[in-house]
């Protein structure tokens, strides 16, 4: 399978630093394509440290991998996030300025027809297939938690202005629970990983339209790299216009054949 990829991470207009991070690559030996996104949190520069630690750790592990995990990609992703959690948690306890830091994380791995996703926090993975948008991840937020257990209504959840309260994060506690999902990928699929500074400020319709445009660029294959980044830029600018005050990061992957 062939993939077209574009990513962008922006500080935005209000934050003094960018606590988001994104990375992607191909492990040629295993013929897999991967992407990871993270949104750090914590005072001073700690958020940046947490998201970088996660990205660096997962990237190192994927690059070094020379055989496919026998237990499957979902389990492997979950194990790597758990290991990264220990590293970030220990780092936070050794460095005073990093105390309380943590990060969200979404890892996606494409292996032939299989797409495997593991995540913690409120960064997301969307799938566009046959022009239909579907959210592949479920936010680990307190609002989602209360909604799932029926303590609040969908209307109350929608109106909440504290959706940023996480119920899970990587590195904030000694242990972390990772959710995973795996599905059969087909040609024409487009996946977007994003942080809340982006997806909270675009409507599902707007996200759909942008992803459709990315998919069409991927097929046209003309100056795709420039056009892809330009589209990512258009999305972050639209989110900023629609009052995003956070860092904004997204990664788009289209399967072209």
């Amino acid at each position: 399978m062939n993939y077209q990829v574009s990513t962008l991470s922006e500080k935005g207009n209000f934050r003094s630093n960018n606590e988001d991070a994104i990375a992607y690559g191909v492990n040629d030996k295993l013929n897999i394509t991967w992407m990871i996104i993270a949104d750090g949190m914590g005072g001073h520069l700690a958020g940046e440290v947490a998201s970088s630690l996660l990205i660096d750790y997962i990237e190192k592990e994927i690059v070094q991998l020379d055989a496919k995990p026998e237990s499957g990609w979902c389990r492997w992703i979950a194990q790597q996030i758990v290991s990264a959690n220990e590293i970030i948690f220990e780092h936070a306890h050794k460095q005073d300025e990093c105390k309380g830091m943590g990060t969200t994380g979404v890892v996606v791995i494409f292996d032939k027809q299989q797409c495997s996703i593991g995540w913690v926090g409120d960064s997301r993975a969307y799938l566009l297939r046959d022009s239909q948008l579907s959210l592949q991840t479920e936010d680990h937020t307190m609002i989602q938690y209360l909604l799932n257990k029926g303590a609040i209504t969908a209307n109350e959840a929608e109106k909440s202005n504290t959706k940023n309260l996480l119920s899970r994060a990587i590195g904030s506690k000694k242990d972390v629970e990772v959710d995973t999902i795996s599905y059969h990928a087909v040609q024409g699929d487009t996946v977007m990983l994003s942080t809340d500074g982006l997806h909270d400020y675009l409507t599902p319709t707007e996200i759909t339209e942008h992803m459709k445009e990315f998919a069409s660029l991927a097929y046209a294959n003309v100056a795709h790299e420039v056009a892809g980044i330009s589209l990512c830029k258009k999305m972050t600018e639209q989110a900023i216009t629609q009052l995003s005050k956070d860092n904004l990061t997204l990664g788009l992957i289209s399967i072209t054949e």
Binding site: G40, T104, M142, Y145, T162, S167, K173, D246
Partner: protein, 115 residues
């Protein structure tokens, strides 16, 4: 800046900055703190933010029940007028609010882990 936080199972699901002289709490849509709950009166209660004389930037917040049908509870007792202090719990209908003074409640981070 003081806040009023709507709490469900110890989680803040909504917060309002008390950044104007008066805030109306009630079921009608034009209320500053609009609550869709039949146990809440149309105009149920009012919060008044008053400057403390001779104290730069110092404010006090007064809670007043506006003759509501089901009353306004402060820390478990029905009240008609009462000055609020940090951590006070206000119950209006089936809704529980926490009064948070100053900047003790920081919800402006990208993400905060709770629990």
């Amino acid at each position: 800046m003081a806040y009023l936080a709507l709490i469900v199972e110890d989680v803040v699901i909504n917060k309002w900055e008390l950044n104007q002289d008066e805030l109306l709490i009630g079921r009608v849509k034009y209320c500053d703190i609009h609550i869709e709950d039949r146990a809440v009166s149309s105009k149920h209660a009012r919060l008044t933010v008053k400057e403390v004389p001779y104290e730069q930037g110092g404010n006090v917040v007064l809670l007043e029940d506006l003759n509501s049908t089901n009353g306004t509870e402060l820390n478990g007792n029905l009240v008609s007028r009462q000055l609020l202090k940090n951590g006070d719990i206000i119950k209006i209908g089936f809704n529980q609010f926490k009064f948070v003074e100053g900047s003790t409640l920081n919800l402006d981070e990208t993400a905060v882990i709770v629990g």
